[in-house]
């Protein structure tokens, strides 16, 4: 019932303001992406999996009705060493479901389920848009990745993307993935993002987020900075964060902290060399995680990428251990 109410709240302004142009085909857009992963981590079975098959539909009807929905099938195992071919599992989730109300050019209210702006990687996490098969721990582990509630955005400068955002999740996440795929579920979440620049060549942002963990006496306060720089001869990106953990569970440290730095350099034949280093200290583990990743990406078109990477992990291993990883990602 509460899910139905959330959807209704998102759509209500739309139906009251929608005009006769509501069903014009050119106002609706259908697209999606898929990611096929080959992974051979040390001491684990080699496997091929379709990790994401995502479809999104958006529309721009008027100032009051700009809906967006992303539905996703994920964790679809196709083949595993010792078990052979398999086509018998798939999980489904609603990744995003929101409506944007544009009060004017500078001020937008978003209602529904959306991605939290704590990291640029989180906002643009689709496989064809990122350089590696594996995602850095800092971009996902410590904070609420999804918000089900509202977001208010104010633009200071439309061209540079200088903006301020405030968001609030009053209750809990709508259609949350199970904790095998998500590190924890959250109840109340409050946050703000100060985006200094977000244009075709650069992105810089500071973030703060407070989140209550569901079914646990734990709250987490995250401070984060992330940046992206695009130049003719390289892409550079980085994120560093600290999350203060207040919990009744056993902790080795008072906070999670860490970050990563990544370079992508184009070489001939539509190839790119990727290199990344990440350091991450978990509050509940004694030893920090250090990860070095190097790889090659073949991107003949901007909508298609083939990735091959080697990841070496030391210390506390999270979900992505040492090994060889490859993937094909297509945006359609």
């Amino acid at each position: 019932m509460r899910y139905f109410c959330t959807i209704l709240l998102c759509l209500m302004p739309a139906f009251s303001w929608a005009d006769s142009s509501f069903f014009k085909r050119e106002q609706w857009d259908f697209s999606g992406y898929l990611k096929l992963v080959f992974q051979a981590p040390n001491n684990q079975p080699t496997a091929i999996e379709m990790d994401d098959l995502s479809l999104f539909v958006s529309a721009h009807i008027n100032r009051w009705f700009n809906p967006f929905i992303e539905a996703e099938l994920y964790s679809i195992p196709l083949w595993e060493s010792g078990q052979g071919l398999q086509f018998n599992q798939a999980k489904f989730t609603i990744e995003r479901l929101y409506n944007d109300i544009q009060f004017d050019e500078e001020n937008t209210l978003r209602l529904g389920k959306f991605l939290s702006p704590v990291s640029r990687w989180n906002i643009l996490h689709a496989a064809p848009l990122v350089w590696t098969t594996n995602r850095p721990i800092a971009t996902r582990y410590s904070f609420a990745n999804y918000i089900s509630g509202l977001n208010i955005r104010h633009e200071f400068d439309l061209f540079s993307g200088h903006a301020l955002e405030f968001y609030w999740q009053p209750y809990q996440e709508f259609y949350a993935k199970p904790t095998t795929k998500q590190d924890r579920h959250y109840q109340t979440v409050l946050g703000a993002a100060w985006i200094l620049q977000d244009d075709i060549s650069a992105y810089y942002a500071f973030n703060v987020q407070y989140a209550d963990v569901k079914d646990r006496r734990e709250n987490r306060t995250t401070l984060s900075f992330d940046a992206f720089l695009h130049r003719d001869y390289f892409d550079f990106e980085t994120q560093w964060l600290v999350t203060f953990v207040d919990s009744n569970q056993a902790q080795h440290h008072a906070q999670d902290w860490g970050g990563y730095t990544q370079f992508s350099v184009p070489i001939p034949l539509d190839l790119h060399i990727i290199s990344r280093y990440e350091h991450f200290q978990f509050s509940d583990k004694t030893v920090a995680n250090n990860t070095l990743l190097t790889g090659l990406v073949y991107r003949p078109y901007s909508k298609l990428s083939l990735k091959l990477e080697w990841q070496q992990t030391w210390g506390s291993v999270y979900k992505n251990g040492t090994g060889l990883y490859a993937s094909v990602a297509v945006l359609f």
Binding site: L124, L158, F159, I200
Partner: protein, 142 residues
């Protein structure tokens, strides 16, 4: 002596740029209540960051096909990015639910569209005659 000049002309011919860029004219429907725009505003319009004219009517930017030479010139001039590099930007925007500006097959088609539909904006290589249907907002000199 003549042979020397011929040789110099021959070498110069090879060194001269292959393409010669012309000016680009940013045009809109004559009824659009804006006398001119800046390069920054133009960029914001074509990145779909600025979506409304000052009188609150929606802006409809028109693009040319990805292979079009004038589009490449426009893209390099305004964004300092090739059409292909801009494709990556539009992929990211597509993930955020924003689709790129609509495309017209040729400059003539864009001009016809401008003449018929208010609030549209486009770019053309040849200076159009300013009349009751079309006006020039900006000239990008090269």
């Amino acid at each position: 002596m003549k042979l020397k000049y011929l040789l110099l002309c021959f070498i110069f011919n090879f060194l001269a740029p292959v393409t010669c860029w012309a000016d680009i004219y940013i045009i809109t429907h004559a009824e659009t209540k804006v006398p001119s725009i800046s390069r920054k505003e133009l960029a914001a319009i074509y990145l779909l960051k600025k979506n409304y004219w000052p009188d609150d009517s929606p802006i409809v930017p028109l693009n040319l096909p990805a292979q079009n030479a004038l589009r490449e010139q426009f893209s390099l001039d305004i964004f300092k990015r090739s059409t292909r590099e801009m494709g990556e930007y539009w992929n990211k925007m597509s993930f955020k639910g924003v689709k790129p500006p609509i495309t017209q097959a040729s400059e003539q088609a864009a001009l016809l569209f401008i003449q018929r539909v208010p609030n549209t904006i486009a770019y053309v290589g040849d200076k159009p005659p300013e009349n009751k249907q079309v006006k020039i907002l900006l000239q990008l000199k090269n």
